[in-house]
């Protein structure tokens, strides 16, 4: 906070004389006024003035040591300091209160039996009551803090759950674009009509793709092996559709197949390369997928030789990287921030997407 010292001072004062505290102190003062009024001989104004003065003196001591000094030595608890400060303040306040209301009296008020008795009564009552009020106030504050903290934990957790749910929903919505499906079916129909022997294998790839890509709600995790199958099916379908513009390779160590991999992770990268790299390019290019383990982390890279990041005009409107933004979110939720996703330029043209996350064997 960069407020001026003046602002900070008024903030402190506002906290010391908070309305919730004044609301407690005032009724107590009023209660005492009523009790004393039965035996009071001097003016009521003096009584009211004194009691309010004592009340606020205690309140001020309580609030002052709540904030000052800013740091306390380890052996001294703040609550103890506050209670002791209140206990010391009360007799002082009573003494000052009596002196102020009896200025110029001769002999001085402490030689007057009646006034001395009044002083003793006030001191006794204040000492009896004020530190206890301080303790009760402190206890109440601790309880408030605890429930506030519980509330903010609860809020944080529900926020996290909402994020996870949103990421999941977006994943489900992103599935199987009609554009992709109908274009692919148009291709398959041509193969079937002309009696091409490729028809069956292409249809198999499409089925393999759809089996995974059609949303299944209760499948939070998958293995890298499944993911690689999905990517291969997708790339085979796309290769059938644009044989003259797309080539691809898939390289994955055998050991990576059993690793845990959030669903659609690799596919999102490959679809992104297809959509923003190869598809907008008149000459097309290649997509190379690699998966490997290095220092207990699973790494995957998808490199394309397509149009590249800078020249994207055709699909820029669809938001280059909304797919990747969503993927980053899903990875963060799955690995609690221990995953990375990077997109860089590939030379001489194209893009390179790389992810890494902890290598964990999927036991389910």
């Amino acid at each position: 906070m960069d407020s001026s010292p003046q602002d900070r001072f008024s903030q402190h004062i506002a906290r010391i004389l908070g309305w919730r505290r004044v609301r407690i102190v005032l009724p107590v003062c009023v209660l005492f006024m009523i009790l004393f009024s039965f035996t009071w001989e001097a003016g009521y104004r003096v009584l009211i003035g004194r009691l309010l003065f004592f009340g606020f003196a205690g309140l001020f001591a309580f609030g002052l040591f709540e904030q000052w000094p800013r740091r306390l030595p380890g052996w001294l608890a703040r609550w103890a300091l506050q209670v002791v400060a209140v206990a010391i303040t009360m007799p002082l306040a009573v003494w000052i209160g009596y002196s102020l209301t009896n200025i110029g009296l001769d002999p001085p008020w402490w030689q007057d039996q009646g006034r001395l008795a009044g002083f003793a009564t006030f001191t006794f009552l204040c000492l009896l009551l004020a530190p206890w009020m301080a303790v009760i106030a402190l206890l109440k504050q601790i309880r408030n803090d605890a429930s506030n903290q519980a509330l903010s934990f609860e809020l944080e957790r529900s926020e996290y759950e909402k994020q996870a749910l949103n990421a999941r929903l977006r994943l489900l919505q992103a599935q199987v674009e009609p554009h992709f499906l109908f274009n692919t079916l148009a291709n398959v129909r041509e193969l079937v009509t002309t009696g091409s022997p490729r028809a069956a294998s292409v249809l198999d790839s499409l089925i393999a793709y759809l089996r995974v890509a059609v949303p299944r709600i209760n499948q939070p995790t998958a293995t890298m092996g499944q993911e690689l199958e999905l990517v291969r099916a997708y790339l085979e379908v796309m290769h059938m559709r644009m044989a003259d513009r797309l080539t691809f390779t898939l390289h994955a160590d055998e050991t990576t197949h059993t690793l845990m991999c959030p669903p659609m992770t690799l596919l999102t990268l490959v679809e992104n390369a297809m959509r923003h790299g190869i598809d907008p390019s008149e000459v097309g290019g290649s997509i190379d997928v690699r998966v490997w383990i290095e220092v207990k982390r699973c790494h995957a890279s998808v490199i394309d030789t397509g149009i590249g990041l800078g020249h994207n005009t055709m699909l820029a409107n669809e938001g280059l990287g909304t797919g990747l933004t969503n993927l980053r979110e899903r990875l963060a939720l799955a690995f609690g921030g221990d995953a990375s996703l990077q997109l860089s330029e590939n030379k001489p043209h194209g893009a390179c997407a790389e992810i890494s996350f902890p290598a964990m064997v999927n036991k389910t």
């Binding site: 079916l185 148009a186 129909r189 055709m314």
Partner: protein, 259 residues
């Protein structure tokens, strides 16, 4: 009567073959004179072959079907071909344009062929206008048409080439024409002419990309490899893909100072 001719443009080979095969079946007299794989090739083939009908896939790399249709203008009947897309279909319906939805159904193609035959007989071309195509493009691609010219029609001898502004290296004012120097996707160097005067052309290009270097020279900033400062407030521009060295005159030097 002379046989009707047609052009088919689609980026997916099987779908090109599919449409060609279906047309041969439905309309045997129709002569398909060109089957091409993108919008740029469609426009170039159109210019040299002048078919009566153009079947244009909407979604093609580089020059889209919609952009190609704007270049072809009213010189041919255009039939758009699109994969299922709610926005596209709505837009075409509202614009009263001929379109086919992939996978193309025979019944639908029969209707289209019948309509085309009628139109060809009365020599009445379909009603697409630049404005309409722009609206459709905006609906399909969910963005306004780019404010600047992105494709140039360049004459090379008798042939017409469609050049992306990204491929242009520099532009030079000649006597009656303006010379466009560009590199192809395989790195080959080309030069051709447009009729638009340099000044007029410059006004239509993206000022972030095209900058005047000299009274008669405009250069594509992305094509520059380096700018070397010379004596006496001059500089020379060296290009990535060709050996030409362009001079920067004093008037325009400030535009290259930060390079």
């Amino acid at each position: 009567m002379q046989a009707q001719t047609a052009l088919i443009a689609d980026d997916e080979p099987l779908l090109r073959e599919s449409l060609q095969r279906m047309l041969a079946q439905m309309w045997p007299e129709l002569k398909v004179v060109a089957v091409v794989r993108n919008g740029r090739a469609a426009v170039e083939s159109f210019e040299s072959l002048r078919p009566d009908i153009c079947f244009l896939d909407v979604h093609m790399p580089g020059l889209s079907g919609i952009e190609a249709a704007r270049f072809i203008g009213r010189r041919a009947h255009i039939v758009f071909v699109t994969a299922y897309d709610k926005y596209a279909v709505q837009a075409f319906d509202q614009g009263a344009l001929d379109y086919l939805v992939k996978p193309v159904e025979l019944a639908r193609l029969t209707d289209t062929v019948a309509r085309l035959k009628v139109r060809l007989n009365v020599a009445q071309h379909n009603a697409h206008t630049d404005e309409l195509l722009e609206q459709i493009s905006a609906r399909i691609y969910k963005q306004a048409a780019p404010a600047y010219v992105r494709w140039l029609r360049v004459s090379v001898g008798q042939a017409l080439r469609v050049v992306s502004t990204d491929e242009v290296d520099f532009i030079r004012a000649e006597d009656k024409y303006t010379l466009i120097a560009w590199h192809g996707q395989a790195g080959e160097l080309n030069e051709g002419l447009v009729r638009t005067p340099l000044k007029e052309l410059l006004a239509q290009l993206d000022p972030e990309q095209f900058v005047q270097a000299h009274r008669a020279i405009v250069v594509n900033l992305r094509a520059i490899s380096q700018v070397l400062r010379g004596d006496n407030e001059t500089a020379t521009i060296h290009l990535k893909s060709r050996n030409d060295v362009l001079a920067v005159s004093r008037t325009f030097l400030h535009q290259f100072k930060m390079m």
